[in-house]
Structure formats: structure tokens, C-alpha cells
Symmetry: C2
Subunit: 411 residues, 2 copies
Amino acid sequence: MSNSVVIKKVMADDVRFPLKNGAGSDAIHTTPTYAYAVCKLITDNGYEGVGLAFTLGEGNNLVSDAIAYLGKHVQGKEINELMADFGKTYRTMMDDPNLRWLGPHKGVVHLALAAVVNACYDLWAKSHEIPLWQLLIDLPPEKLVNTLDFSYCEDILTRNEAIAMLQSKSSGKVRRKKILELGYPGYDTSIGWFNYSDEQVTDNIRRAMDMGFTAMKLKVGSAMAERDIRRAKLVREIAGDDATIMFDANQQWNLPQAIAICKELLPLNPYWIEEPTHPDDVEAHVRLAQEVPVKIALGEHVPNKVIFKNFLQSGCVSFNQVDAVRVGGVSEFIMISLLSKKFNVPVVPHVGDMGQIHQHLVLFNHITMDHPALLLEHIPHLKDYFVHPVNIVEGRYQTPQAPGMSTELKG
Amino acid sequence: MSNSVVIKKVMADDVRFPLKNGAGSDAIHTTPTYAYAVCKLITDNGYEGVGLAFTLGEGNNLVSDAIAYLGKHVQGKEINELMADFGKTYRTMMDDPNLRWLGPHKGVVHLALAAVVNACYDLWAKSHEIPLWQLLIDLPPEKLVNTLDFSYCEDILTRNEAIAMLQSKSSGKVRRKKILELGYPGYDTSIGWFNYSDEQVTDNIRRAMDMGFTAMKLKVGSAMAERDIRRAKLVREIAGDDATIMFDANQQWNLPQAIAICKELLPLNPYWIEEPTHPDDVEAHVRLAQEVPVKIALGEHVPNKVIFKNFLQSGCVSFNQVDAVRVGGVSEFIMISLLSKKFNVPVVPHVGDMGQIHQHLVLFNHITMDHPALLLEHIPHLKDYFVHPVNIVEGRYQTPQAPGMSTELKG
């Protein structure tokens, strides 16, 4: 049992990391700077909760500025008392009667919520001096569910159904803990950024395969479909027929374009095609899935559980790419993972956090919820900035051991 | 022909108006402050473009801060050249490669976009020294469509289809201009704020009817359905069987609650029930409409044309309440009005602008697009702060005559 750990002060940082030589570029995000709005929860015990929200640089200060409005809801709270019914605090923050107008549950204020919520889970795990995945998998179903907010999801999943679902999965937990030794399989997003030349892509594929990756992703969504098709064929050719390859259009097609180009990409046997069109357009994804037998992955721009619920209800999504630094942090990530489990759609997170937090969450999803252990995205560009960077050996994330959720940035 | 009117400087203001004695309160927005993030376009000719985005106070500075990022796209431009193909600039602002991550097309940055876009239309009308409605109804279809962005809507409405639709409506314009003399019918939202007592509601209904209003709205969405039902019956009783009454739940029911309470409200013959559940939840609205034959109104929290497109495709919406100070300003408002016309759903705007801008836009929608002239919401609480406040006589908005879109606030 931990001592009383009281949040004395809530602080916010705006940290930015310019990328070089086309790294991070895609069809729409042509000049990315990776940035974090950081929420820090200061205590008297030497523990510091660190929560992140991810942006692409410009406007990151809007998110860090918004943290202060939400921080007042956790300031002065003892972390274990706070987390005992965190779902209530989550809803209070999400439904602040004035700030809510700026979403609701989307955009800058929801990104700020992600940072605050993540800082709370980080501090909670640190107060027990264990990594987040361990805290989460050891929680009894009822205590876990107390950290969630079910509002607007009750038509699909009630609190009691969630508890029953978790209980029904408990018998297999010991078996599924084998993943902790095996390591969680990763895939490499950095082989095929949009601005990379064909030669760079070729070199990167070979290097990734040498490092043990068998799955990798190419950015498509070009104004010229020919470029997309040519580069997609190149990736299949270099990586070989056995490789798992994905194509990511970053929302750059309208529905007629998506239908036409997906038909051409299909013979290359992609594992998925990612963000084929606008992330709000559930109906366009449904029609695309009806027209072309392609497996659609999406979620990095889906802001909240309500829109995820609609996507899951529609049946058009094959891979759920929810990101805990886009939605309202770990709490909403878990809620969305539960909804996804109910619809039997695997969770394969987008990693705005570079996998630092999600390496914990996919272990939890697999062990506690019986989600399949498919793949976790790997983006290497910020590795040098984290105190405890992810450690990938032979293409597999090694299970993190430091207390918390691996979010501390070097000073 | 106007002279060259160049945008020399883009400025942003954060102005807030505390409300008193329960005015503006609803089931979730319990302590509203009305606020505007104001974009000002300064010229050398004495014209000043003034654009508004509406918020509820806290965090309004986030929106006014975001205006600076978007303002650079219009700074230095001559207003008539800018508006000649404004759709392109709109898309450039909407898809800024870094800022886009903070939405996309929703939340704080999209509210800032509304303010900038509205300031451009205001300056455009002022540069011709005519009110906005007149500028818009006199534009040839092609020039009007050039101010719009059709991205992600091409599956439903292309640029050429929009031009053809507008051309097909041109013959009735002369007849429909009669609305300019008649005045546009208003309805009164201020009779039944959530925190008002039953006695206040009763008094307000009588006063509204004395002023010539025959349509009025009550805030529901209480934690206790009994309070909602009791007050709804009171409104019907006091206003009489001939009155047009609406109930507004401000998103406070989940789907099972919405179904149960709408069934109880239905015998009171509401003209619509507004925002029965979460504004992102298209599927829940579809199921509600299937279960209860109620006419659903929504849109004040729908951030962009893509989600409106999905709502219209779903067939669950009877009244489209798009708000030009929530979506990306006049440009996206017109785009959404075109989509709505295609699906034969009337546009009855929510008025975060207190009707100042929308009085122009509903005249335009009726005269140019042949939308029916149903009702425009009236909220009186900020009337004293505008230089050219709306003027309602016998329940009808009198056609505004000052150049621009009536957005100047007193200094």
C-alpha cells in the first residue's frame, strides 16, 4: 500500500521536436514538427505524474494553455482516492459547463484532457512503484471500470456488462501473460514517409527487415495515384510476399477517389489501408467497404468514444487505431478498447506517443481483455528524448519495467 | 465597383458578457458567459471586417489566440480578389499541415476559422457598401460557388451540381424577395431557460406572445424527467394549442433515456425536439427516430460539413440547425445549406451570433436556394452590445440595411 500522494500543483509544458529530412511527412502533414503538450502533477513525495498529448507543432501552446483549466479538477486530490472513482472526475472534466462548448469532446480541449488524464494514470502507477501495464492488469474488474465514464455508450455497453465481460476473460490471463516474456510485435512506420525518395524507401525496408521487422507501412494519398501505386508495388517487391504491408492515405481521398485507388492497391495484398478518407465520415467508409473488399484501419483522428461507437456499429472498420494521446487519455482508451472488444475489432493503436504509453496499453488489452496481440506501431524519431525509451529487439517491444507509463522527457 | 481594399492587419479580440439571473442556462451549460472571439480585418479605406466565433466564456482566449495562425492566410490580400476564389483559401486554412492536427475541422481551431472567414465576408460586403444578404443574393451561381470548398462532399454534391441547383432556383427569386418586406419570422428561445422558475417561464411566455411571437422553446434535459414533463405541459397550457413549441435537451439524454422521454413529450405536439443526445452520435439519432415519431432538430454542436453530410444521409434530421459561428463561417454555412437543400431538410440556424449574421443568411437561403422561410431563433441578451442590433417587430426580423453582416460590437 502506497502512502498518501497528494497532487500539490499542476503544471503544463509546450515541448517541440523539429524533424529532419522528410521524417514524419505524409500526404497532408507535409512539414511536421512533433510536439507534446505535457501535464505534470507535482507531489511532496518525490513522485511526478507526467501526461502527454501529441500535436504537430503549431498551436501546441493552445493545448498546453488549456491544461490549466482542467487541472483544477485534480489539484489537491490524493491520487489513490482520485483513481478509486476516476470515471466521475473524467466526466466532470469532459463536461465542464463552459469549456465543453469548445468541443464537445474534441479538438484542443480534448487533447488537453488527454494530457491531464494520462498524468493521473502515470502518477497512480508511480505511487505504487510499478509500470502502468502491471497496475492495470492487476486491477479487479470493478476497480478498473470505476476509472471509466460510460456516458453516451449505455445503448451498447453498460457498466455491469463491462464488469461481466472482464470477469469472463479472467481465466485466460495467466496464459496470456506469456506476451510479457515474448515481447509485443512491432511494425515500422518509418520506412515510407511521404517525402522519402524511392531509393530511401528501398534502403529503409532492407534495414527494417535486418532489424527483425516483418510488418511495415507506406504513406500514400498522393495527388497522383500513379506515384502511390508505383511505390506500393516497390514495397511489396522489396519486402517480399511474406511481409505484412500497410498503406496509409492520411485522409487524402474523397469517396470516389478512395474506391478507385483501393481497387488498384488491393492486388498487392495490403494488411490494411489506413485513413482512406475524412475521419468524421462514417458513411463514406461504409460505402468504401461495400465497394472494395479492403480492410480499413482508422482512429488516429477519431476524437472520442461516441464516434468510435458509431464506426464500430457501422461494421466498416477492421482495425481500431485509437490513440491515448488523441482521445481523453488512458481512461477513454480503455473504454474504446472495451467497445471494440464487444464488436470483435482488434485495437492496433496509432502512437502519437511514439509507443511509450501504448506499449503498456496493448499488453493490458491483450492480457485483461483478450484482445489479440497483433502489432504496435513503431516510430523511432523521438527515442533520444525520453528517459525510458521503448526498447525493440528483433521487431518486438520489450516489456517496460520502470514505474509509471514511460512518459518522462529528458530535461 | 469598389476600390482596392487590402487587408493590412489581422487582429483578434476576446470579449465576454456575463449573463444574469439564469439567462442562457440549459441542462449542461449551467453557468454561461456569452463570449466572442473576434477577428478584425483592418484596411486603409476605412472599412473594417468583423468576424465572430461564439463560446461560453472560459477558454474563449484559446480561440482568439488561434485566429493569429489563420490570419496570415488573408493578410495582405485585396478582399475582392480573395473572395473571387475564396474556396481555395478556405481549404488552405482548413488544411494547414500543422494546425490541422488540432481538429481536423473541429474544436478551437475551427471556431477560429469561423471568425476569420466571417470577417472576410463582412469586409467583402462592406467594400461594396451593401448588407451581406444583398451581396449574396446578387452573386451569380458560379461566383457564389467559388467561395465554397467541396472537399469530402463530392460523393453527394459536386461543384457543377451546385451551380445547376442554384441556376434552377433563379426563376423564383423575384417572388421570394417578398420576404425582404415581410420580415423573417422569429422564435423566442429566452422564455424557458433551464434555471428559470415555473413562474418566470409563465410570465415570459405571456410577454413573448404580447410581442407577437407564436413560436417558443423550452429547455429540458433534466436529471428528473418529471421536471421536464411538468414544464413542457406548462408551456403548452400557457401558450395554447396553436403555438409552435419546441423542447431542447442540450444533449443530456443517452439513447434509452431519449427514447423514453421523447415518447412522453410527443403528445404535447412539439414542433421539434432539439439535441436529444450526443451531437456526434448519428446512429443514436437514427435509432431514436425509428423508435419515436419525433422531429429531431440538431446542429449547434456539429462542427463541419462532413458530419452534417452523414446526418443528412442518415435521414434522421428534420431541422438543420447549423450555426455560422460554430462551423467554418459563412462559407461552410452555405455549403451545408446546399447539402441540406439536396436532402430537402430545412435550415433553422442556431444563433450563437444572437441572429446578427444569421438574419442575412436565412434571407439568402430562402431567396437564392429556395429554402422555406420557417423560423429564426431570437436570443435578446446581447442586444445592447451591438452597433446594429437585430430589430424584431411583431415577431419578425426586419431586414437589415447597414453594410456588412451586422457584427460590430460597441467599443
